[in-house]
Symmetry: none
Subunit: 210 residues, 2 copies
């Protein structure tokens, strides 16, 4: 028997959902609210196994909601349920540990399906959502853009990132500090930055080093 808690500010929709789920033999709706302001307390009292969570609600929305729930009750399954499908929110929810992500145009049958699914450890999402998740996978591993740094410059930059001073770098390579200086000057110019901090940040963001 799935104990279901619903967060959805549109009352009509919330009631429809309740009706739909109550019609199922193995589902029990333990509550429904219009925002997540008291989500911790409510989850503690109602002990749901699955939460249907809208994203856009007045007061505390679903993104804060899923974060809170997952931090305090990681064992409760949270299914996001929204009309909004921008990547920002999607990613925010997934990072917070949402167990699934449905668009509101999902059919009632699929919603039932998704609840069963998430309760048995799956992660239901529409193929469209899945596609976007995969997209970010690809872009996160973007190509190491070539700045035209020479091998030596890369070595120097690497040590700079480690926090070594010019003097230490010079010592490491048994070259003069002046040479290190020259390399750094060239590095900064090639990277279009004005100081070490910026170069370090840019290098790491470009994943020149890990």
């Amino acid at each position: 028997m799935h104990q279901i808690l619903i967060y959805e500010d549109n009352e009509r929709l919330r009631n429809s959902l309740e009706l739909l789920l109550k019609g199922m033999p193995n589902m029990n709706v333990v509550g429904g609210f219009g925002n997540c302001d008291k989500v911790i307390e409510q989850v503690k009292n109602l002990s749901p196994t699955v939460i249907l969570m809208d994203i856009d609600m007045p007061g505390e929305g679903g993104i804060i909601g899923v974060e809170k729930v997952k931090r305090h009750f990681p064992e409760v399954f949270v299914l996001m349920f929204t009309v909004f499908d921008d990547d920002e929110r999607l990613m925010a929810c997934l990072r917070s540990g949402a167990n699934g992500y449905l668009l509101k145009k999902t059919s009632p049958l699929q919603i039932i399906d998704a609840i069963e699914n998430v309760a048995s450890g799956g992660a239901p999402m529409t193929p469209e959502i899945a596609r976007r998740v995969l997209e970010t996978f690809k872009v996160e591993r973007k190509i190491p853009s070539d700045l035209g740094l020479t091998p030596r410059e890369m070595q120097v930059l690497e040590l700079l990132i480690k926090g070594h001073t010019y003097k230490m770098i010079a010592h490491d390579f048994s070259i003069s500090v002046e040479t290190v200086r020259s390399h750094l000057k060239n590095i900064y110019e090639k990277m279009h930055v004005n100081n070490g901090n910026e170069a370090v940040a840019k290098a790491l963001r470009m994943r020149l080093f890990e």
Copy 2:
């Protein structure tokens, strides 16, 4: 009409798949092979719209296969199809741009479904696969490591990462350079680093900023 190309080393299974797909009115199997050794050439000649790709094959397996295909023909949809479900391979495929990921225990009906789905831009995956993808999302954002930096210190560090000098930071916040200095001193101590470069590197690696 979907033009389908199959890579699967088990001949019996490959033939079953061909039969299954040929039975559909809108699917045409343009070829089937037992390894990916000549995948580029084959794709060029056969012009598939969707590729069903097994992972474990003698010679060049599906992981190399999907990489090659996606590099040379990014518009072709690649659906991974495998008994193996270890995370390593899964992630390798997804990073290379696979459009979906099915386990072999998937029913024929679902396979048909998945092909339709991937061809219309979705990313079919079993809820189980989806769950694992979400897992890695969470772990990738690991260590909420709390360094105990105060809000102000975070702001200062953020600007440092942007390459601002102490003077610029002071100006940005309308505070004295001495104060910026103080903050940085505290930041370096809390982070156990000795200079800005190291702090920037550490902050970015800890994903304090993105």
